[in-house]
Structures are given as structure tokens and as C-alpha cells.
Amino acid sequence: MTDSPDLYAWKPLVEDLAERRQRSLAMGGPERVERQRAAGKWPVRERIDELFDPGTFTEFGQLADSMDPVLAAKGYMAADGCVTGVGEIDGRRVAVCAYDFTVMAGSMGAVNEHKTARMRELVLRQRIPIVWLLDSAGARIQATSGSTFAGAGALFREQVTLSGVVPQVAALMGHCAAGTAYIPALADFLPMVAPTSSMALAGRHLVKAATGEDVDEFEMGGAEVHTKVSGVADLAVADDAECLATIRRYLGFFPAHNQEAPPVAATDDPGDRRIEAVYDIVPTAPRRAYDVKKVIELVVDDGELLELKPDWARNIVTGLARVGGQPVGIVANQPKVLGGALDVNAADKAARFVWLCDAFGIPLVFLHDVPGFVVGTAVEKQGIIRHGAKMLFAISEATVPKVSVVLRKSYGAGYFVMNGTAYEADYIAVWPTAEIAVMGPEGMVNIIMRKELDAVPEGKERDAARIAMADELRKNIDPYIAAGHAQVDDVIDPADTRAAIWKGLQVTRTKQVPRPWRKHGVLPV
């Protein structure tokens, strides 16, 4: 008789499993992880630890490998270069797809694509938000250089399906090209780590080959470009820590999905708090500009505003905040930039923000001080009509509670797109300084009194006549006329602006707006 075989030989099996796990947790190995750190970027697993509440992460596909015969010689590809799973942010589940630059430059291969597809399926079934941490060179060309490419691309279509169903965040945390540039473009919120990230449809080598242009990643698609010029990204952040904290903060305003109410927070800040400091911020002199962000900070809970796209289209301010604990989206004209006039980028920025809030049931608050849309050849060539129409479209479609406060002027289509009376505005409070009219008196003079004006000798005399006529017309622009016709709901003391918004939100919180059935509207974009 030989020795009887060990019927319970678990130890080597468990040890083998533990060893495989360790190999995966080691990512691309100490040398590449060190290089990642030297570049100012955190290793992917530290990013995930920071993103989620401690001990809440359940990983999917930790033991994945590239499984590619061509790449087999290069050894084990930890998690196939993308860590996926579900964790919690403030006790609420969120899925993550986090590319690992230390493994094949975080490139998108067949196995990790299968893993991210699984996350997309999961978030759709579970109705929870998805976060992408992007640090990826894009498609793994070594593996997809042939025409099997024809089968690729489902991820973008699936992202579109998820849009407006669950919140989607895509953070740029490294240089991302092509595929990993479209992921953020189809997400709702795109922070960029300014010193280390970029996004572009093609990386620098491809651009050099295709066009001869010799640029680095930052010049082409860095935060300077995308948060100030193109408007593709929402926010530049200083480092990985700020990026991950910002994602947590952003998701704190959102429900897990579009059929849940946004999370109301406990607050010690009274809803009817008076904001007398506003008297020193907003001039009654109509031509004098001011910074509307100072007004917003007085209005919202604890002065906290998460501004989106702060450095792009600065003539309009968009951001998330709370009033009485209730998440709200703020849309405010910014008089200190372009006088608050709306141009193509401002309309674009506001329309997208309105769609974002409306998709997830976040009420909208509008602060008006707008001379209207910019006019002239330059903006017509940029398509101001379709961009203006886009903002009209978004505000018309939005069925969330919509509260407006008119601070000073609100002229023409500017009044409409800022949630004017006719746009199913639920509550409109105006200041004694409010000027609601088809256009400003100076503009009106040139149209309705042109003949009288032409009769006056040109020069100083005519200028004086123009001012006198404008002053005469201004008398008809009076908030008490609008209030007298009950076209606005109240005229308020500016110090009661927060209280008015808070009450407006209270009385409209069960809003329902049935619309005729349609597949979808035809969007002016």
C-alpha cells in the first residue's frame, strides 16, 4: 500500500490563488508603478481606494489577463490593464472602470473591454452611477490592427443608452487618445487633472504622421484647451486627490438613477436666511457690472457652489449647489463678462447644463441679468441662431421645478431662455431693479423713434435726444407693470432672494408636466 492521497489538499490551491491575486494587485510591477508616481499620477488601485468609502470595493475580473497569444511573451497583464468593480461613495453604490497605465499603457484590449462591458450592463440593471478613471493610450493597436475592428465600438453606443438613465462621470487622469477621448465626451461630467492629463482624437505620433503637425499632448488637448477654449471638459483640478474628491462631491448632488429623487442633505443653514450683503454687491446703476458668483454664494447653502465649466463661456455661470438641503442647478448670467450677453458658447454651456439637471430631476434656479443675445455678423457665422435655439429647446423641454429671479435686466430672447414666464417657470420673483422688456431702451429708441431721432441734427444734440428718448421709454420698463399684470409672481427685497428661491422650490416640488408622445424632438445643436 502506498500512502493514501490527501483528500483535502486545499493549501496549495489557496496559496496559488493568493499568489495570483498578489500578481494582479502589483499592477505593472514596481518599476512601472514608480514611473507612474514620478509622473505625478497615483497607481490605479490607490485611486480606487481614495474614490470609495474604505473597505467597500468589490472587484470584478481581478484575475483577468490579456489572453492574447501575441502578447503572451510579455507576461501577465494585471487585470488586463483596467480595474473594474463596485464600491460605495457616502454609502451609495457606484461602479468604476479604472484604466491602469502601468499595464500596456492602460490600452483597451479585448478582455478589459469585456470587463467594462460587464460594468455597463451592471449599472444599467442596478441603476447606479458609473465612473471612468481614464489613463489610457486608447485602443490596443497591437491586438486590433486588422479588420476585426468592424466589430468594435459597442461601448459608445452603450454609453448613449446609459445617458440620462444613470449618472456617468469620466475623469481624465492621464493622456487619453481616441477611444478614451470619446468616453468622456459621452459622459455627463469630465474633470481633468491639469498637470497630467489630456484628451485628443489622436495622440501626438498619429497627428504628426497624419497632418505633419508637431505638438505635444498638452498643447493639443490639455486642460488649458479643454476647460478654456473647446469647452469639452468641465473642470481643471490640481491633482489626483482633488479629482477623486470632486467626483465624490459631484455625485453627492445626484440620484443613483433618473427615477430616484436627488439626495436632500441635512442643513443648518435656514432657508429664509436674509442676504443683506447683496446690497453691496449688485449696483442699482444698470450699467455697472458685478460678479454674480458673489450673489450665488450668498444664496446657496453654506456658500458652496460646484461650478461646472468655470473657465469657458464665462458670461454664464452654471453649477450645482443646495438650497435648504435640496440639490439645485444654478444658471446665472455673469454681467462682468460680455455684460452677461449670451453668445454661442454660453448658449451651448447652459443648454447642456439644463439637460443634465432635467435628466436627473434636479430643480433649476435662474438668476437673470442679461442684455440678450450678442448680435452681428461674427456670431451669425458661428451659428448663434441654432445655438440660441438649443438653449430655448433645453429650457422648454425641462420639466423639473424651475425658479427664476430677475436681478436687473432681462431682455428679449434672453428672458425666454433664462426661464421666462412662458417657459413653464414655476415661480418668478423679481427685484425692484428688474427690467423685463423686448430689448433695452437704448436699442428701442433706434427702432421705434428713428424718424424723430433723424430729425435732430447729428452730433451732441442727437446723442442728448437719444438719451432723453431712452429715459422716456425706460419708464415703461418697470417691474411693477409686470407684477401688476401678474406676469411675474412677486417683487422681492433682494435680501430675501434665498428665501424666495427656497419657497419657490417648496411649492413646486411635486411638479408634473405631461408631454405629447414622441420618439424624440429634433434638436438644434
Binding site: A285, R287, R288, A289, Y290, R314, P335, K336, V337, L338, G339, G340, A341, P371, E442
Partner: protein, 74 residues
């Protein structure tokens, strides 16, 4: 040069309308240094910090563009 003080820049392209301070004047944070005119609006440029105005680099009717230094505070 830049280490000699805080450069105050304009955030917008505009015409200079008024200069409200003089070199050597003490200013508090938020004081109006210069008032610009753009899009028929009067747009103040405020002191980002307290200090003394050590340089004023614009005068009325100058045309300035976004990012130009208006004044220096030390």
C-alpha cells in the same frame, strides 16, 4: 519683476474708462482700481489683496485684452 508684487490682470477685453487709484495709494482687498468699459457695461477691476499700488499700467481710453496687467500691488 513679478516677484515685486501682485500683478492685477483684466479678465476681459475692454476699453479703460477710469483709473480710480494713484501710485503709492494704499488699497484694501476688493477696492476698485480701474473701471473698464465693454459691451456697454462698466466693469470694475478690483484689488485681489490689500497693499500699496506700486504701478499702474493703463490710462483712460487704452484698449486692453484679456490677461493684460492693469496694475501692480505690493
Amino acid at each position: 519683476m513679478a516677484d515685486a508684487g501682485t500683478e492685477v490682470r483684466t479678465e476681459i477685453t475692454a476699453n479703460v474708462w477710469q483709473v480710480r487709484v494713484e501710485v503709492g495709494q494704499a488699497v484694501a482687498e476688493g477696492d476698485e482700481l480701474v473701471i473698464l468699459e465693454s459691451m456697454k457695461m462698466e466693469i470694475p477691476v478690483e484689488a485681489p489683496c490689500a497693499g500699496t499700488v506700486s504701478e499702474i499700467r493703463v490710462q483712460p481710453e487704452d484698449q486692453i485684452t484679456e490677461g493684460d496687467v492693469v496694475a501692480v500691488i505690493t
